[in-house]
């Protein structure tokens, strides 16, 4: 790997100068694994996009895992992951999405640390 040390921005982490380290993966075996996993991930993501309208309308307030180009929905992430893993234990390209209960305009920005407990 080729490592480049870069300072993190903002917040307490930056105050402490804890860097983010960016590394290029150069190991051929690791890259081959990563590419194969990415292909499975891409297929699952494409499946969700192809079924997005139906999935979003039907599973509001649920966690959905896409694995093996199938959907597994549950009230909690634990349940959704368990269902997906039981059906497709080999699929390392699975991912999870929470479907918000309501449609609304969203502003994700300005995530900043304000209080330490």
């Amino acid at each position: 790997m080729v490592a480049i040390v870069l300072p993190q921005q903002d917040g307490k982490m930056a105050d402490k100068h804890i860097p983010i380290i960016m590394e290029e993966v150069t190991d051929p075996e690791e890259l081959a694994k990563a590419r194969a996993q990415r292909q499975r991930f891409d297929r699952n993501s494409a499946w969700l996009q192809a079924h997005a309208t139906e999935v979003y309308a039907r599973y509001r307030g649920k966690c959905v895992v896409i694995a093996g180009e199938e959907l597994f929905a549950a009230d909690t992430p634990e349940e959704a992951w368990a269902l997906a893993t039981a059906a497709h234990p080999e699929d390392d390209g699975s991912f999870i999405r929470y479907i918000p209960r309501e449609k609304m305009a969203r502003i994700y920005a300005n995530q900043r640390r304000v209080v330490a407990v």
Partner: protein, 144 residues
């Protein structure tokens, strides 16, 4: 370096810029995750359902993240985020990352400026482009 994403359809019918990546879990496996490219977010934040799958122990005491919706409880975890380059090779970002702990707090993980700030970021919906550009890659603004 060029890292490509795409505009994906969300539950409210809106297209949003997303880059797919993987996060290193406690068991050494890489967990796929979709990252919303949020140019206004100070930090990369993992969603709670993704955090659950990672099985990572918090590296710092619980913290809270502020947004328009108020404060959200979160933890900080030490891990790596892996993104895929245009060459199909990969780059990893190792450091401390935040993760919300309430499922409803984030529907998708967010790629914030702790990572995107290292690149030029293009989120061009009309041109159907989402990408991070760095190192020897540059963009050109042209008038036609």
């Amino acid at each position: 370096m060029q890292i490509n994403g795409e505009w994906l359809l969300f539950d409210d019918g809106m297209l949003r810029p997303v880059i797919r990546g993987e996060i290193l879990a406690s068991n050494g496996a890489w967990q796929p995750a979709e990252f919303l490219v949020d140019t206004g977010a100070d930090r990369t934040v993992f969603s709670a359902p993704t955090l659950l799958k990672l099985g990572l122990q918090p590296s710092m005491p619980q913290v809270r993240l502020g947004g328009l919706g108020g404060l959200a409880n979160s933890v900080v975890v030490a891990t790596q985020v892996r993104l895929t380059r245009e060459t199909a090779s990969a780059v990893v970002f190792r450091g401390l990352f935040a993760a919300v702990t309430a499922v409803e707090a984030l529907d998708v993980s967010v790629l914030g400026r702790d990572i995107t700030g290292l690149f030029a970021v293009i989120v061009d919906q009309s041109g159907n482009v989402v990408c991070l550009l760095g190192q020897r890659h540059r963009y050109l603004i042209a008038q036609t």
